[in-house]
């Protein structure tokens, strides 16, 4: 009973709990927090079970017709390797961040009622992202994208100060324009194919695309602009630094780590499942993605270098790292695409952990700027150690998860014959070292006066440690997750 319905139950459980929380507004926040953590654990367990199920079925995707109506009449869910990969990201990052949030969020939000709302939004976001992972229906994608967008903006606005509200509004404005583009793109695809189910749209589109090449091109560019805005692809990233640096720490972590990836996964689904690799290459969309990715890597890293505020620096770093994923989407070979997917997963973990560590440092020591970091290595040894490991991972040092992604992106770019792309990947790593190493250097090696230990609480440390363990384990034994990413890339490329 549960097993057959697991794909939909994952989403429904999250949604259900999200709407259950407002009932507890008058109770102690501890109940809400316990509920959220339990649900996140359930989701993790369910995803792992589903992963096992698919592996046993020879990795064929599970098709789930909602309400018993098969596609193209009904809405269809399809859980393949890509969905599992993204669901694992949601659960694997969502759980530690939720644990982190349970500690101190009441104090930061200043009221019990708002704690319930905060976690409602948190779970809504998770539900929307999970929905994006499993759905096989274009219109469903739109709905989930919208739910995710509104929850993201509201999470930013949850920290009720002028900066956050301004950032949230700016985010909402640009994201809504982005949604407009996505919706228009879906409309155009529907006009051409008469289908909203991705699989059916693909069959129709592959026949009709050459009759309406301009419409298809328009639709694809609408999708790239729309999802690019939401995923902060370089010239469209303007909202991100404000929003991600102004939000509460757990919100920043989840936004930078997961939300951005959700849109990219959705774009990947649309581009690869509906449009298909052959058509992408025929319309040279892949070149454009590659180019935009490279520009994003360089520009995002350079902008990050110029920031002195720690959280802004991390936010701009996300812009650069998103570039890597887009670059991978444009390589059009299995290694590169799998590398990009693995990179997305590892970046989700790393960036979430970096934001958590940065937030802990800022809230404990009050030091918001990189130039003020002197002595933090002594004040908060564990947090700073975690920050260091994750920074190294983001730079792509071997034995940490970031390296596996970069390594395979490099392999993919060389396989695709793009020497420039491989140079940009390396340049991005170097620039990443350029903006993260000074933080570590200042924290550890620049002499500071007398320092006292201000280490953060046990719960926060343990949540960050979970993420750090993921980073290290994935770096040393990437096997299972890499196989999943490889299979997902194979599915997308139709190999």
């Amino acid at each position: 009973m549960i097993q057959e319905n697991l794909p939909v139950l994952l989403v429904v459980t999250l949604l259900f709990t999200a709407y259950l929380l407002p009932i507890f507004t008058k109770r102690r926040p501890r109940i809400i927090e316990l509920l959220v953590v339990t649900v996140e654990c359930l989701i993790l367990g369910g995803t792992l079970y589903l992963a096992g199920l698919i592996a046993r079925q020879g990795r064929a995707p599970i098709i789930y017709p909602a309400g018993g109506w098969p596609a193209p009449w009904g809405i269809e869910l399809s859980v393949g390797s890509l969905s599992i990969l993204f669901l694992l990201m949601i659960a694997g990052v969502g759980l530690p961040v939720a644990i982190f949030a349970t500690d101190g969020i009441t104090w930061q939000l200043r009221s019990r009622q708002r704690v319930a709302w905060f976690f409602t939004l948190y779970l809504l976001l998770a539900a929307a992202l999970a929905g994006l992972a499993v759905t096989n229906d274009l219109f469903n994608v739109y709905v989930f994208v919208e739910v995710a967008t509104i929850s993201c903006c509201a999470l930013v606005a949850a920290k009720d100060d002028p900066l956050a509200i301004k950032a949230a509004f700016r985010y909402l404005l640009l994201a809504t324009v982005g949604s407009g583009f996505i919706f228009a793109g879906i409309g155009l695809i529907y006009l051409v194919t008469g289908n909203l189910d991705m699989t059916f749209a693909f069959t129709e589109l592959s026949q009709r695309a050459y009759t309406y090449p301009h419409v298809v091109r328009l639709a694809i560019s609408f999708f790239v602009i729309g999802f690019g805005t939401k995923a902060a692809l370089f010239p469209l990233h303007l909202w991100l630094p404000d929003a991600h640096s102004a939000a509460l720490t757990p919100a920043s972590a989840i936004l930078s780590g997961l939300a951005v990836k959700g849109y990219i996964i959705a774009l990947a689904k649309i581009l690869y499942i509906i449009v298909g690799p052959a058509l992408l290459q025929a319309l040279s969309i892949d070149r454009i993605l590659l180019l935009m990715g490279m520009v994003a890597i360089v520009a995002g890293s350079l902008l990050a270098l110029a920031q002195d505020e720690l959280k802004r620096r991390l936010a701009y770093s996300t812009v650069a790292q998103v570039g890597y994923i887009f670059l991978g989407l444009g390589l059009m070979n299995t290694t590169g695409l799998a590398g990009a997917l693995f990179y997305a997963a590892s970046h989700a973990i790393i960036k979430a952990c970096l934001f958590l560590a940065a937030g802990a440092i800022i809230s404990r020591t009050g030091k918001e700027r990189v130039s003020q970091m002197a002595g933090v290595g002594r004040e908060m040894p564990i947090t700073m150690g975690i920050f260091t490991i994750c920074s190294f991972a983001l730079m792509g040092l071997p034995l940490l998860s970031g390296f596996i992604g970069k390594w395979n992106l490099l392999r993919g770019s060389i396989q695709a014959g793009s020497f420039l792309a491989s140079l940009v990947i390396i340049l991005g790593s170097l620039l990443c070292a350029g903006y993260l190493l000074p933080v570590i250097r200042t924290a550890y090696f620049v002499p500071a006066g007398t320092t006292t230990t201000k280490e953060t609480s046990f719960l926060q440390i343990s949540s960050m440690l979970i993420l750090t363990v993921f980073v290290i384990v994935l770096g040393i034994a990437p096997g299972p997750l890499w196989n999943l990413a490889w299979q997902a890339a194979r599915d997308l490329l139709g190999g």
């Binding site: 040092l397 392999r411 020497f419 491989s422 140079l423 090696f445």
Partner: protein, 480 residues
């Protein structure tokens, strides 16, 4: 469990243990450091014993991508590094006792040892890269150990150069994997011997940039003189032995295990490589002449001497390779002695400049005597061992038809004499303003390692076969 892993892991674990000990427990820390160094070094000797006793010519270990390989080339580097690390540990006990940050120093000291052995025993390019990259980060805290503005600036430069090199290396390795389908070192070269396209040349350029940074190949050398702000044991070990030799070792691997002499000959790149290395030999010596700070003079001398080995390697002949390997050994022994002496002078008198050394022989007689003998060696005079390696390098130049190389070595030798002898002459005969009456201030802890090394260099000079018949012949035998 292989002794290779014992050597690597014991140093790494020792480093972690030292990092966890509190700053105050100095005696315990010293004990652990010496014990782990010895254990690691002995494991390396054990591996060497099995390989050179011909019972098993090759020792490999494999676990997924983690391939390790002890062939003669690997051992030549591992033996040098492992043995000298023990001596440096002893030396540092005399040099460091007043230092306020010994915990961090010794922790990274041991970690670097394990990582260096990892580079030596790496069985494929990926493992080599991993340890090569880790070496940068484990030695960085040692370079900036003094935490002064100058040290931090030097450290920044070191990191930037190393990371750029590592980036180039990573691209090169990925491209190699794509072109050859394998990254493992074997008996032959990795790359297809017929792949003589422009891409292969680009690949070589990337490799040379990648390892050339650590081998201080000009114009990638600028970090090395600046990194001399580090405490002397660090300078001695890392910037005369481990780090720079890692670059040379990497290039040897590239030339003989990745490309292979045949492919390089076919590509026609040998003249360019030789010109690059010869230029560094001469330019390094010339710049060294102008340095007044003793350690910087030694640093430029190192840059020059490292390229001796590269010249040898790039001649692609068996004489060249044997000269390069033997020079790696001799240079390490002699240069570390010179650094130890410079450190002793600085530690005991506070003098860092050549112009201030006049008459110091009276305070530090043994130190200067040892420095003098080592200088002779560096210039290439009998009975110090470096004579033989230079002899073979010249022979390689002649036999491969590159007679200008002979000229390069001779000029460089004269330049070596020009910048080393004045130091010794100053020390013994100079009548500087200071005539210390305090008598001998030398400590055994710093003197004994130097003396041991000098004795070893002399023994090798008289009986070069001691190392030659095992080490050098082994390496040459495995590639030609």
């Amino acid at each position: 469990m292989s002794f290779m892993l014992v050597g690597i892991l014991s140093a790494l674990i020792g480093g972690v243990i030292v990092a966890l000990l509190p700053e105050e427990s100095q005696k315990l820390r010293r004990g652990i450091v010496l014990a782990t160094c010895l254990l690691s070094a002995l494991s390396v000797w054990q591996v060497a014993a099995t390989i050179f006793s011909k019972t098993s010519p090759l020792n490999t270990l494999e676990w997924g991508i983690w391939q390790f390989r002890a062939d003669p080339l690997a051992l030549s580097y591992a033996l040098i590094a492992g043995t000298l690390w023990v001596l440096t540990a002893i030396y540092s006990y005399g040099y460091m006792p007043q230092d306020p940050r010994q915990r961090s120093f010794y922790a990274f000291f041991l970690l670097s040892m394990g990582i260096t052995l990892g580079i030596a025993f790496a069985g494929n390019l990926l493992v080599l890269y991993i340890f090569y990259e880790l070496l940068t980060f484990s030695t960085y805290p040692l370079v900036i150990h003094r935490r002064s503005e100058e040290a931090l600036r030097a450290g920044k430069k070191y990191i930037i150069y190393s990371l750029v090199g590592a980036g180039a290396l990573l691209v090169a390795i990925v491209a190699t994997g794509f072109m050859a389908g394998s990254l493992s070192f074997g008996t032959g070269a990795i790359l297809d011997q017929t792949a003589t396209s422009g891409k292969t040349v680009w690949l070589l350029i990337l490799f040379v940039i990648g390892f050339g940074v650590k081998a201080a190949l000009m114009p990638l050398h600028r970090w090395l003189p600046q990194a001399m702000v580090a405490p002397t044991p660090v300078s001695a070990l890392l910037h005369a032995v481990a780090v720079v030799n890692a670059g040379v070792f990497g290039l040897l691997r590239v030339v003989y295990s990745v490309f292979g002499p045949d492919l390089l000959t076919k590509l026609g790149v040998r003249p360019y490589l030789l010109v690059l290395a010869s230029f560094t030999v001469l330019a390094g010596s010339i710049v060294a002449l102008r340095q007044d700070v003793l350690k910087k003079r030694l640093a430029y001398s190192t840059i020059s001497q490292l390229s001796y080995m590269l010249v040898g390697a790039f001649t692609l002949s068996s004489f060249g390779l044997s000269g390069a390997i033997f020079h790696m050994l001799n240079h390490s022994i002699i240069k570390i002695t010179l650094f130890f002496c410079a450190g002793a002078i600085e530690h005991n008198t506070g003098k860092t400049r050549v112009s201030e050394l006049a008459g110091l022989e009276r305070t530090l007689p043994w130190t200067f005597a040892l420095f003098g003998i080592a200088s002779l060696g560096m210039v290439g005079m009998l009975p110090v061992s470096a004579f033989w390696s230079k002899y073979y390098l010249m022979k390689a130049g002649l036999s491969s038809g590159n007679w200008p190389l002979l000229l390069v070595f001779i000029i460089s030798g004269i330049l070596n004499a020009c910048y080393f002898f004045p130091i010794v002459i100053q020390g013994f005969l100079g009548t500087g303003p200071i005539r210390s009456t305090e008598g001998n201030k030398e400590t055994y802890l710093m003197l004994v390692p130097c003396a041991l090394l000098v004795v070893f260099a002399l023994v090798l000079g008289v009986y070069p076969n001691l190392a030659w018949s095992y080490l050098v012949d082994g390496v040459v035998g495995s590639f030609f």
